[in-house]
């Protein structure tokens, strides 16, 4: 196996690329060494007196032209990345608020409010009155309230009230409570402008506040508004990896992050007229699949299969089987445009915010959404006869996705007894040692999926429940780790819990804005009882093994500020500064009960996360993890009993011992 990927499908596509001399992110990463100074945060280019590089034997002693020291520079660089990441999620959330209002006013073609119940719950959280009002009226005002969370200037961002009381107090006391999404981002940019804030700790406090405005603001709103508009996810069956592309059908790949367009593409791809049109063109139907988080959005709600994660966007085109790749925003590689020219694939940009030279731009407008989507699908169908050769790797795996926090609640007790009691009980008893979120990207500078999978496998084997989002989630899905059957690979206690509920030990919670679902889940665990009073008391950790984007830094930072121990794989963007590294670990730990570490070695990530989980268990007075105490329940003994008895033609249901002896 190549060190570039552990995925046989990706491997096959890469071999084809190599044979045909097609460059990919994998090959470019080999050719293009990363800038070692920028990588560690030691380059300051915020003014024209620089760029100043903080290198040498004693980089901490170096001063920039303005006198800035390394800590200030590393902190500023990091903070600006967080601001950019928070902006990405929040801009996404804002667009959904606009979309909701358009739907409420009846101006959005093809959309309707799918989850009116959730609308009412969200309305209650946003103090929007619901009594005696129509769904549309409430929806419109929810849109107004959501938009105000972005533009709000004073007070507290409204969703902060969803955190535990203790957490809210911490934020207030430390001045970390976000006031409004846009305000925090703007202030972050201001404070990192040349000659403003030069206290690394103070800069990083604002980075936390900006990140919180993302996690408990932009992202959480994005998740809630998506659920209201497109339905709150519940488990669905699907398949993952390049093998979901079909030889005989028109393959349309949606890629990017927003659900708004892709929802309409889903509708258009099921349109009988268009299916008939596809048949006319020689295909047996239309096959929709996805890449990245647009894929996750429609996977969670419709079971539309992901063709791969971030590093597979080029590989999908390289199969030669993709008629159209439709992209919106974020994580889209510019390389797709020249790459698509080598094949028949039409690369279609749809957002006015994100255009690529060489791509076909078909601007998506929610007022004409269905028509736009149909036009795009039609274009793909018309492209089907242009296919040349295809090489689809016959690799894919079944998976279950769709674990919204609402469903997580439901699955633990049904309509009447829904709660987090069973999960908390399992953690308290030690059946489940703890929980980790494994989230984030792929990174061409690390073997594709290797870190993600190494950790997933080890964690579940050691009775740690794994929640996943984003490209990491698609990764686990591709290797069968999101099928319930994989519970056999889990530790005995975790296996029992999975079998009791019927879930995989690795749960898909959605796209990267849906990390906000994890915040909600953690808060519910902390308030259910028995596991302390705040997120920072929980035996849990957050891990981003193959991080790449600025969004992941924003996510990591809001988790830390919410009380989570967060470990990133790969290199540290602040590695050059010992002081900033200390602030993000020791200082943050003392302040908010969470820390942010960058650890390149997977085994070390595992060790640290488990040590943290065990320490939290001990602090809660819970029994130490002991896998030998559990594992007697489940179906297996009975299935074995039934086989044995059948062969003997004597079924004594009053004795398992006799069957075992025989």
């Amino acid at each position: 196996m190549s060190p570039k990927t552990i995925d046989p499908a990706a491997q096959a596509a890469l071999e084809k690329a190599e044979a045909e001399g097609i460059p990919t992110a994998f090959s470019r990463a080999e050719q293009l060494k990363p800038c070692p100074i920028g990588a560690e945060g030691a380059c300051c280019k915020i003014c024209a007196m620089g760029p100043c590089r903080f290198v040498g034997k004693a980089p901490e002693e170096v001063r920039g032209v303005c006198g800035a020291d390394l800590a200030t520079v590393a902190a500023r660089n990091f903070a600006r990345q967080v601001a950019a990441g928070a902006s990405a999620h929040s801009d996404h959330g804002r667009d959904l608020a606009f979309a909701l209002q358009a739907v409420a006013k009846g101006e959005a073609q093809g959309y309707r409010i799918k989850d009116a119940q959730k609308l009412r719950r969200v309305a209650a959280l946003l103090n929007v009155p619901t009594e005696g009002r129509s769904v549309e009226e409430v929806a419109y005002d929810v849109g107004v309230a959501a938009l105000s969370a972005f533009g709000q200037q004073r007070g507290e961002i409204i969703y902060a009230s969803r955190a535990t009381r203790r957490r809210q107090e911490i934020w207030r006391q430390l001045g970390l409570m976000p006031r409004g999404v846009d305000r925090e981002v703007v202030e972050m940019m201001h404070r990192t402008h040349e000659g403003v804030d030069m206290d690394a700790e103070n800069i990083l406090d604002q980075a936390m506040r900006t990140a919180l405005a993302d996690g408990w603001g932009g992202s959480m709103l994005a998740t809630d508004l998506s659920d209201i508009l497109f339905g709150t996810p519940a488990p669905v069956q699907s398949m993952a990896n390049l093998g979901v592309l079909r030889e005989d059908q028109v393959n349309i790949v949606v890629h990017g992050h927003e659900p708004t367009l892709s929802e309409m593409i889903v509708a258009a791809s099921q349109d009988p007229e268009l299916i008939a049109y596809a048949r006319e063109k020689g295909a047996t139907g239309i096959n929709l699949c996805g890449i990245c988080c647009t894929s996750n959005e429609i996977l969670m709600r419709h079971g539309i299969p992901p063709a791969g994660n971030f590093l597979q966007q080029e590989l999908a085109i390289i199969t030669g089987a993709v008629e159209a790749m439709i992209v919106d925003v974020q994580c889209v590689m510019q390389a797709l445009a020249p790459l698509s020219k080598r094949f028949h694939t039409r690369l279609i940009t749809t957002s006015p915010k994100a255009r690529i030279p060489g791509a076909t731009h078909m601007q998506f407008n929610e007022h004409t959404a269905l028509d736009d989507a149909k036009a795009i699908v039609r274009l793909a169908i018309e492209n089907f006869p242009n296919r040349k050769g295809t090489a689809i790797p016959k690799v894919s795996s079944p998976m279950i996705a769709g674990f919204s926090h609402e469903y997580l609640n439901y699955m633990q007790g049904g309509r009447f007894r829904a709660s987090f009691r069973p999960l908390n009980d399992a953690v308290i008893a030690g059946r489940i040692r703890g929980a980790v979120g494994i989230v984030g990207c792929n990174n061409a500078r690390q073997p594709h999926d290797e870190g993600i999978m190494a950790l997933v496998k080890e964690f579940i084997a050691q009775d740690v429940l794994v929640a996943m989002t984003g490209c990491a989630a698609i990764g686990a899905g591709k290797y069968g780790y999101m099928t319930p059957e994989i519970m056999a690979a889990a530790g005995p206690g975790l296996r029992e819990v999975c079998e009791a509920i019927g879930i995989p030990p690795v749960l898909h919670l959605g796209s990267c804005v849906d990390n906000s679902r994890i915040l909600t889940v953690l808060t519910q665990m902390a308030t259910e009882g028995g596991l302390g009073e705040d997120i920072s008391d929980l035996p849990a950790a957050g891990i981003c093994p193959e991080w790449m984007s600025e969004k992941s830094l924003a996510i990591g930072t809001y988790f830390v500020a919410s009380g989570v121990y967060v470990i990133f794989g790969g290199h540290s963007p602040v590695g050059a500064s010992r002081e900033v590294t200390r602030i993000m670990t020791e200082v943050w730990d003392a302040k908010v009960g969470g820390r942010l570490e960058f650890v390149p070695d997977h085994a070390e990530i595992l060790r640290r996360a488990l040590a943290h989980i065990d320490a939290k268990r001990a602090a809660l007075g819970l029994p130490a993890w002991d896998p030998t105490r559990f594992g007697t329940s489940g179906d297996t003994p009975v299935r074995e009993f039934l086989t044995v008895s059948d062969e003997q033609y004597s079924l004594n249901m009053y004795s398992a011992a006799r069957a075992a002896a025989e």
Partner: protein, 762 residues
């Protein structure tokens, strides 16, 4: 869940809902939508349906809505590969199953098929009231099984369920591996005072058949209630659980989650699945798990051990042949023990060294004349019991002496004289506690299987059955029982116990005289004890485990509404358990002597009702009346048209002039709610001078259940004389002369009832 169980349960749920739909359609065609639907004697309609949906099913036409609701809870079974999660779905299907099962039973009631007729050789003798065994009538042989438990019995059991005497219930579904196993399992449950509900069958054979064949006495009094021989009748157990929450928890129909959590935390129940578990049994068990009730099976089935919906394991398999033990008795003990562990029931067993089984469940057992070896007291002999405090040195702890002959020489079925004298000593023992402890003799002796005890003091009446005598039960064992139980239950105030059984005629005579002297002194002392003569009343918050906001205030002249706790009982109970539910309440300043308003009482009640009740009067039904849990013996309610009140007793199922039966009224009087004009009371409060004295006292009573008039004839006569109207009792109507106000008023006019001319109540 497990996928195996989920698949079976979901399959079972879909099938039973479909079955209910078919039955309902047929019934609607046959009887029409207005055909009334009702379970026996309940104010809670079809209680499980009421609890989950808030729908009050009173006619067939109310059922389709329920059916639609049930259908909305159904799901598809999980697949073989890459299946979707199933726990929440299975639990919902379990609820759909319960709704469908209750609909089916409701339809069967319409058709007259419920309670299930006994079509085989067995008999079911439904016993009479458990709470007042002294009034037990010889049970009639029933042609049907019990069917659902009525509200009256539920309330009667209330106090025992809350004070822990009755730790919970076991719903047995199916049939045991053998008759012997069936008997032993039930006996083990009885020993622990756990209610046993029976239903279901395996290939047509039910544990009900098994127990009947073995001659096990079933009925409310023995804690064994045969619901029916199919799985569907197990719904009555969950109806009982739902009504516990509605009756004692103050919950309303439709508060499904609250009702279920109430059961999870307060009602210790479990399911014993005996024999093969089919789809419908799994589906019903899934419904029961919603209540937090786990299932224990005696066959090989998948186990579900992670906790959460239930407190401990959800499903446990304990294959009968694999249970260690020489015989079914030992296996049954281990099986039941495991069930208790799984539910987390706290059971205190007092080992009583006698040759027959022992436990409260045997308290209600009767010994019929033909089964009797010997009796003491009753028509043909004298029997008395007397407990007194003695000097520490004069009591030899554990000494049991029989003075006089045993009953060996008494011919079978005949009687002899006997006196039981108990002498106790203890540093915290007080003379006041003598009657409190003496009254326990009734319960203690009754706990022995095959022994019947009725009455108290010098009208005690004890029978020993032939079966018990054959097992070696003799007079000395009475002493052994009393010794063990007084130490176990009253160890906090009793350090030494010595029992002497007298059968020697001269000694019986001599001790009887002494006892009677003591009884007299006590009567005088008690009669002199008034609310004014004490500084402290006592609280009783025992029922807060069931009715979280209710506080009983017990004074010398007003006993607890359940009838089980008077002021002395509370005082003794406080001595035994100083931090327990009976706390002294300093009366504090008397704000109104007529209404009985005390500063200290108000403060205590406000605090302990969790700020829901701020004022309580001791002597009025009209102004801030005392609240009630749900265990009351009687309900007093104002009849405005008659300017008086009526008193209906728990035993009286008839209609009252208030237009409601006891059961319906109970919903208004219970749950810790303060409703002027309605009050739950203990029946002996009726004879107190302070009985609604602020509102005019006993003369206000214009209607009273005949049961009360008859069973308390002597006491009530004395009250009438005290009130200066010796014929008053005859002026009070009962259900035999009036069940409406229209019938009541002419009666009162005719008799010249004083209430008509008293000051207006309003």
């Amino acid at each position: 869940m497990s996928r195996y169980i989920a698949t079976a349960a979901i399959r079972g749920a879909n099938r039973i809902v479909q079955e209910a739909e078919e039955m309902l359609q047929k019934a609607l065609q046959e009887f029409g939508p207005d055909a009334p639907v009702a379970f026996t004697n309940t104010a809670y309609y079809l209680p499980v349906i009421l609890g989950f949906t808030g729908i009050e099913v009173a006619r067939l036409g109310d059922m389709p809505r329920v059916l639609e609701y049930a259908k909305g809870l159904l799901h598809a079974a999980p697949g073989e590969h890459n299946w979707l999660p199933y726990l929440g779905e299975t639990l919902d299907c379990g609820v759909a199953t319960l709704l469908a099962e209750e609909l089916i039973e409701g339809i069967r009631f319409v058709r007259g098929l419920e309670p299930e007729p006994i079509t085989w050789g067995g008999t079911y003798t439904q016993s009479a009231s458990f709470t007042s065994p002294e009034f037990a009538r010889e049970g009639e042989v029933q042609a049907r099984l019990n069917g659902p438990i009525d509200d009256i019995q539920l309330r009667a059991w209330g106090i025992q369920l809350v004070d822990g005497r009755m730790p919970g219930f076991a719903a047995i579904v199916g049939a045991a591996k053998s008759n012997e196993a069936a008997v032993q399992i039930v006996r083990e449950l009885q020993k622990r005072n756990i209610l046993v509900f029976l239903s279901g069958n395996v290939n047509g054979r039910s544990i009900i058949h098994q127990l009947m064949e073995e001659g096990v006495e079933m009925g409310y009094d023995t804690y064994i209630v045969p619901f029916g021989t199919d799985t569907i009748s197990a719904i009555y157990a969950l109806g009982f659980a739902t009504r516990s929450a509605l009756t004692f928890g103050g919950m309303k129909g439709g508060q499904a989650r609250e009702i279920l959590l109430y059961n999870k935390y307060r009602v210790f129940a479990f399911v014993l699945a005996l024999g093969e578990v089919d789809d419908l049994k799994y589906a019903t068990a899934a419904g029961a798990i919603n209540y937090g009730f786990p299932t224990l099976a005696d066959t090989v089935i998948p186990q579900i051990t992670p906790t959460g919906i239930t407190r401990y394991e959800h499903v446990v398999s304990m294959p009968w042949d694999d249970i260690p033990g020489e015989n079914d008795t030992e296996k049954a003990r281990r099986f039941v023990q495991r069930a208790i562990e799984v539910r987390g029931v706290k059971v205190k067993i007092t080992e009583v060294p006698i040759p027959v089984p022992y436990g409260s469940a045997f308290e209600g057992e009767r010994v019929r004349k033909q089964d009797m070896r010997v009796e003491f007291g009753g028509k043909y002999s004298r029997c008395f019991e007397y407990l007194r405090m003695a000097d520490f040195d004069a009591v030899e702890d554990g000494k049991v002496t029989v003075v006089g002959p045993g009953f060996e020489d008494v011919p079978e079925g005949e009687a002899m004289d006997m006196g039981i004298v108990v002498e106790v000593a203890g540093r915290k023992m007080q003379e006041d506690f003598e009657p409190v402890l003496e009254r326990q003799i009734h319960y203690f002796i009754n706990g022995a299987s095959g022994i019947q005890h009725i009455g108290q003091r010098d009208i005690a009446w004890i029978r020993i059955s032939k079966a018990a005598a054959e097992k070696g039960f003799n007079l000395e064992h009475f002493g052994k029982i009393l010794y063990a139980r007084f130490h176990a239950d009253f160890g906090a105030i009793v350090d030494k116990v010595q029992v002497t059984i007298y059968t020697d005629p001269a000694q019986v005579e001599q001790w009887l005289a002494r006892a009677r002297e003591a009884y007299n002194q006590r009567n005088v002392r008690l009669a002199g004890m008034t609310d004014e003569s004490v500084e402290e009343f006592y609280s009783c918050t025992l029922c807060q485990s069931f009715a979280p906001n209710h506080v009983c205030v017990v004074s010398p002249e007003r006993l607890g509404l359940c009838g089980a706790y008077n002021w002395l009982d509370c005082k003794a109970s406080h001595q035994i358990n100083p931090t327990g539910p009976n706390q002294p309440i300093k009366k504090g300043a008397c704000l109104d002597p007529v209404y009985g308003i005390f500063d200290g009482v108000n403060q205590f009640v406000y605090q302990n009702s969790h700020q829901t009740v701020s004022n309580v009067t001791m002597y009025s039904i009209m102004r801030d009346p005392m609240t009630a849990c749900g265990c009351f013996e009687c309900i007093a309610m104002v009849i405005p048209e008659a300017n008086g009140i009526m008193v209906v007793s728990r035993e009286d199922p008839s209609m009252t002039p208030a237009g409601m039966t006891f059961s319906t009224l109970a919903g208004m009087a219970g749950g810790g709610l303060q409703t002027p004009g309605v009050m739950g009371v203990g029946k002996y409060y009726l004879v107190s001078k302070k009985f609604i004295s602020a509102d005019g006292g006993f003369k206000r009573v214009v209607w009273m259940s005949s049961f009360l008039k008859e069973t308390m004839a002597e006491e009530l006569k004395a009250v009438c004389e005290r009130e200066g109207d010796p014929d008053l009792l005859d002026k009070i109507a009962d259900e035999r002369v009036a069940t409406t106000v229209e019938e009541l008023l002419p009666f009162l006019e005719e008799k010249g009832h004083p209430a008509l001319t008293m000051d207006p109540l309003f």
